[in-house]
């Protein structure tokens, strides 16, 4: 069976079996290894991607559920500028605040953070904690991840406000 979807803005046509996991489609069939697997049972959040803008755990989503959807991964967060790869606002904020240590939860955290930024919610400590509650991090104690999302939210706000 053929499944058509969009991944990071590009059309994808796949013959993958319907019960193949979205994470395997991304990592193995499409070579998008930025998305990580930490537990394979929906507990750690490392495999979080955006499915039509909503954060989902790609280890729990079968290919048969993604037909016609728009999937976004960490690779799709990275703006490609004329001089090569640059960092997006959220990525830059993680870099500055120290929100990434070992980096393995980072792609999932970024996608959860991106969904939070898109929600337009006030970036309070509680709201950000709630937004990343499904993403485990063992390195940071979460403080600097929360700082990063708040900083990005403020910068996005400034940018939107100025526009």
């Amino acid at each position: 069976m053929t499944t058509n979807l969009t991944v990071n803005g590009a059309p994808v046509e796949t013959e993958a079996p319907g019960m193949r996991r979205l994470i395997d489609l991304l990592r193995e069939d499409l070579g998008l290894t930025g998305t990580k697997e930490g537990c394979g049972e929906g507990e750690c959040g490392a495999c979080t991607v955006l499915l039509d803008g909503a954060p989902v755990l790609s280890c729990l989503v079968p290919v048969c559920q993604v037909g016609g959807t728009d999937v976004r991964t960490v690779e799709g967060l990275t703006p490609v500028a004329p001089g090569g790869v640059t960092l997006g606002v959220l990525q830059q904020a993680f870099l500055e605040t120290g929100g990434a240590q070992c980096g393995i939860c980072t792609p999932g955290m970024l996608m959860a953070g991106e969904a939070f930024l898109a929600s337009g919610l006030e970036p309070t400590d509680d709201a950000i904690r709630e937004a990343i509650a499904g993403n485990l991090c063992r390195c940071t104690g979460y403080t600097k991840i929360i700082d990063a999302i708040r900083l990005a939210s403020e910068r996005e706000g400034v940018r939107r406000g100025a526009a």
Binding site: G103, P107, R129, A133, R138
Partner: protein, 770 residues
Amino acid sequence: MTIETPARAIPARSPAPTRGVAVPLRREGPAKLTGTALYTDDLVFPGAWYGATIRSTDAHATLLGIDLDPGFPWDRVVVVTADDIPGKNVVASIAADQPILVPVGGEIRHQAEPVALIAAPDRDTLREAKRRVTLRTQPLPPVYDPLESEIVFAHYDLGRGDVDAALATADVVVEGTYRVGHQEQLYIENNAMIALPRDDGGITVHGSLQCPYYVHRALIAGMALDDAHVQVVQAETGGGFGGKEEYPSMIALHAALLARRTGKPVRMIYDRHEDLSATTKRHPAVIRHRTGLTRDGRIIAQDIDLVLDGGAYTTLTPVVLSRATIHAGGPYDVANVRIRSRAVMTNTPPNGAFRGFGAPQSEFAAEMQVNRAAERLGISPLELRRRNVYRAGGTTPTQQVLGVDVAGLDVLERAAEASGFERTREQTASARAARRPGARTARGIGLALAWHGAGFTGSGEEKMGSVASLEITGDGEIRILTASTEMGQGTKTIFPQLVAAELEIAYEDVVMAPQDTSFVPDSGPTVASRTAMVVGGLLVHAARRLRAEVEGRTGRPFGLSWRDDAREHGPTRIDEQFLPYPGRHFDDDTYTGDAYPSFGWAAAVAEVEVDLDTAEVAVLRVVAADDVGRVIHPVLCEGQVEGGTLQAVGYATIEEIKLLDGRYLNDRLQTYLIPTSLDAPRLETILVEARFEDAPHGAKGVGELPMDVGAPAVVAAIHDAVGAWIHDLPATPERILAAIAGIEPPGPPGVSAVSSRSDVVPPQPTSDAA
């Protein structure tokens, strides 16, 4: 965050104070943030096969045979057993007791013990083949309770003064027994290793690991290869915390055996269940204390008995026990101390390294004693610590006389002040006094203090003789060569930072060679918070020598002349080998002397809210003050304290492995819980710099420090809230309710329950239809 320099004058040397200095961003940060950093499972090797491990399910048994189902096409896969090991069937470590694979006729000592290996060209075939292997075993009686085990891996007996006489004269003697269970490192990237066979008969492995040369040595011994035929390359590593210190050697050997047999690259990528059920945990411990004090709060005697559960094999246990023992009294200057300790075998998977390395266990007990003594004497826990904490010139249980870089009082006062400890404690005390029956919640505040020996214990560093190198390459680069791995702590950022500062050149001009044993020297394992202090120190020395050599040739400042020098003179390389810190000596036979070149100091104040109906604990806030000698990179350093503090909060409240018949019951991420963002308290960090004068840059290390104080601070806060002491970790709701009710707590943490066969009720024939 604030960085405080103790008011006491500590000889300041270059470089300049850290505060306000611009620091670089994490070196490998952009790769991690764009998804381009390559972790082991991201590496592609065309034609690679998948490997799997067949493990025992018996806790203790004799292996009689390995049966392959004749109905399966075994020619489609490869099976490896102990007979196929070309070298010694031992995972090289401190003792030669752990086999790579249990041979037929051999002894199975725990339920996750590797017995055979399978490789297949695809995962489905591999899964099916695994199902078609049966182990024939003869069960043997297991040992689960460390107090009953007669097999001792290591033991120590140390102390000073006359403990019995001092206890006899003490105004107050506080006694206590404390038990702590396993803790899983729970790096988010599981263990992973890929082995590639080479045309010359050698093996190359790429993996998630902390210590490239540990894996290197293990492969040489197990595969019967020489140095030149083994190459170990660290892939990007998604966390370690001690959990990737030793077990990667086992996985690398397994992958290598399969790679040699198949002639193809073989991927051994553990899933979470396998990682949790088979790899090492923090040692459970049972610690008994008798502490003698005078009425005015002077600790005059400590009598301590410490037992660690090593699990089935020796692994690193003797060294973990050594650190646990030396730290067992806590950061207090006590004239009469006796510490007796032993580590024993049980038929559970081997325990190993985890951030803190024995000290979190023993210092939890020590801090419980101090907090309980404060309550007994009616003295504030802050004041009791002020009266007993080590000062410069204090003498430790190994007879080590402490130098001027002691910051115990500094971290204590900073944490107490920043948290408003005494003021909040008065409030929680009056709230407790006014509390009515039916109240729903209670708040409490607690304090703990710790010391942590910097770097290896005793003569470890001297024996290892680590090397770090620095070179100007033929390509005109300044390159650092060390085996120190990046796992998130910031090695790849602080090393170039230290070298650039010393050479007075741009941070960007210094590059790091990959952690690949075919390039880099053995700079020792990335453990014991030694990377910044020891290897960082070697690099500063190397940079000074490089600078002197180039400036000697060119007669101009290094920054202006090194590129010309590289063109005219060619490459220059400095190999800097560790030399013992001057005047420090430790005697392994008598266990006396300078156990550590320096100590870091940590204090934590925790605030909790306890639900009085369910006894659930919410940790609301932790203020941590840590003396790290010198802060090299404030953001990364603070990140270490925050992460370590949350791991300690998890240790205190929710992280526990339950066992039945020697098997971990909660061996999945659905059942082994770690704190989420909603469980995490507000973390406030104060970094203190009491420079270690014998390191050229003053650093003592940071990674393990915060792990020692979090748990006793949280348990003290729970006591402050509910008025009951929890003696066992984690302080789960069940243990808290039992303590409040004054009844026996549920089973001791870390000890396996046993299913007695007579308890198992056979299924009853259903007669409902009648």
